[in-house]
Symmetry: C2
């Protein structure tokens, strides 16, 4: 069992109730012993939903179902299990999803398309879905508004701490709450990497507006983090809005009342995404990469991810080595436009290179000091435009190899 990440927060935050959302967890025994491994989230009728799903070409059966159900824009239940990803399970996997969905729809008396499912854990093994559906009565009986931390724990696989976040804002003078939980990106053999996140709010927003907000905020949060560049078959992010806050419904993305909600959502997702990185396998340092001066925000993000995904950059940081040459290399290999003769690089706020070469009188002392800390800041200016982005990652340590290679020894 991996030890608690040194980057873990002190405690799980207090998540207040979100009107119209109830949660329940149960121990189904489908893989783990003596721990909750199932989560049921129940939403008031009329709740709207949006989602972002893995782009993997080998997506698991639950992802395929969510993709279909999202077209309906409504949710009354999300059923999640940990321990088995129900991925690469062929037709049997699809049948499992169908049984889970229809059983849940039955007990909640809603349509199949209002039931979403997500699974995380071992892949290629049939999901013993009867254990999940058998637990539905128990789950139904224990639904409560105050089970957020238990929910965050039930969806963990190799995570070393549960991940949650909350924000409040207001719309039309009504207080609006956003709560979210996430799991990832512990990827221990033989389990798979998977990032799951479920966010709920009591704001009244159309599914269409919700989807546009989520896509944008996701780009700046979960799409801006990386642990090792590997992508799961099961990544799922769902956002539900119950409408119980009592604001006048918002049905257009250009509605100015969205501004603060949008910012709160982005902050919440960044908070969750950073927690995922801080639980990266073997992580000993949290790394922020800020790219400016790119041709576009998209290009800046790609350049940032190239740096954040580079094993050479990540191992250097693990070794507390301010190896900026590797940052130059990563910028170069990203394929994004940068001006070699205007490139500037700083670490810990101290400029190392400008105009495409090392600064005169370069003194590594303050940077070496920064490298010893737990929070590392890398800043790169590409020197060609005004695009900017931030991405987050962790270092690559012996711990990663221990967890991923030495599982059987």
């Amino acid at each position: 069992m991996p030890e608690l990440s040194p980057l873990a927060p002190d405690s799980f935050p207090l998540l207040p109730p979100v009107e119209g959302v109830e949660l329940a967890t149960a121990a189904t025994g489908l893989r783990y012993k003596k721990r909750d491994d199932a989560l049921l989230m129940r939403f008031a009728p009329g709740t709207t939903v949006a989602g972002v799903l893995t782009r993997s070409q080998t997506a698991g059966a639950p992802v395929l179902w969510c993709r279909e159900a999202l077209a309906g824009g409504r949710v009354q239940a999300i059923l999640v299990n940990s321990g088995n990803a129900n991925a690469f399970t062929g037709r049997a996997g699809i049948a499992s999803v169908e049984r889970c969905v229809s059983s849940t729809a039955n007990v909640l008396d809603c349509s199949n398309r209002e039931v979403f499912v997500a699974s995380t854990g071992v892949i290629g093994e049939p999901l013993p879905d009867n254990k999940l559906t058998d637990s539905l009565p128990e789950l139904l009986d224990s639904l409560s508004q105050d089970r957020w931390e238990a929910a965050a724990r039930a969806i963990m696989t190799t995570d070393t701490f549960p991940k949650g976040a909350t924000r409040t804002t207001d719309i039309d003078g009504k207080t609006v709450t956003l709560n979210g939980i996430a799991k990832g990106s512990g990827m221990i053999a033989p389990d798979m990497a998977t990032m799951l996140a479920f966010v709920a709010t009591d704001a009244d927003l159309s599914a269409d507006v919700l989807q546009q907000l989520l896509t944008r905020a996701n780009n700046r949060s979960f799409n801006s983090i990386t642990v090792d560049g590997d992508t799961s078959t099961s990544d799922t992010l769902l956002l539900a809005a119950t409408g119980k806050a009592g604001n006048t419904p918002i049905r257009s993305i250009t509605d100015p009342r969205l501004r603060r909600f949008s910012r709160a959502l982005e902050e919440l997702l960044i908070d969750l995404a950073q927690q995922v990185v801080k639980d990266g396998e073997g992580a000993s340092k949290f790394i922020t990469v800020e790219v400016t001066g790119a041709t576009s925000a998209r290009s800046a993000r790609r350049m940032g991810l190239a740096i954040a995904n580079s094993p050479l950059v990540k191992t250097a940081i693990a070794g507390e080595d301010a190896n900026w040459g590797r940052i130059v290399m990563a910028v170069g290999k990203s394929g994004e436009r940068a001006d070699r003769d205007r490139l500037a690089i700083s670490i810990g706020g101290v400029e190392i290179a400008q105009d495409g070469q090392r600064v005169e009188d370069y003194d590594e002392t303050p940077i070496a000091e920064h490298m010893k800390g737990q929070d590392i800041l890398i800043q790169v200016d590409a020197g060609v435009g005004r695009g900017r982005a931030r991405v987050w990652t962790c270092d690559l340590t012996h711990g990663y190899i221990d967890i991923n290679a030495d599982y059987r020894s």
Copy 2:
């Protein structure tokens, strides 16, 4: 100092002379002490040349020069140094290259455009090019046809063994020899990853034909290997043809006499490329990934590289764990077209999955045995077409982290 790779060949192969090619090495002291760090290759007048250079946006000054000189299609000298990559050195770096090139052209009495340069080593530090040019008289004096192994040793940085290969074939009944040396991909802090390879033949081929042959063979060799997915600022592959074998000159790529030469070149480059992988940092296993059933050869290669670059696949192999779920994941994240429900996966020739799910009565015993060996074979059929490719890589071990993170400790 890293130990000799466990995948190293028993000895350096015997490279016969290539008519029209002479080599010399010297210890300039520009960074290393007491070892040769400079290589001069001299070619008979009229020698044609082709090259493949890094696509990095932050390519070093020597790469920029080679790109320009390749347009001329002729070579009389290649001057190489190890210990300093002359990359990210701004205008000073370009001036260094100019001095090296014109000094070499002077002593050899050829045009600047017939002089190629390559540098590998630390980046961001000015190249003390005077040490290199001061060594030119010594290099010139010691030119010999029999210095191939010394040449391979002089261009090493963190390589644990020198890399060379030779092939013979014939054209028009004339024996044709191909010799090649390479270095890479040891990437130790604060040095950079760099792959250099220099190949010479006595065949008589136009520069245009040579370039087309090289591009194709490079795709199936150096472009089909990966250690950690990082790309150097300095990668350089040059192929020179002296024409001394006496065949009737070949000036068209469709000339049927090229068939065997082309095969020999491809074999030679694959041999060198595999040696580079076998010297991958921390490598304990050599991995061949064969992809079939893709939409095209290009798509198959990308899928293969996604598998070969996946830290999760590579750590699993280091741990001798037949974690085929991670192969599914890597296929999915490649973004290349594959049929999830027709995907087949074998390890060590034993089928694990077919038609998108695990085979019935899957028995891991023979595969577990295969995983204990030093040569690992992964085969994937994407189930959508007839494109195929092979790529090679090594596993990801604690040794990689030791070399790249623990340099200062």
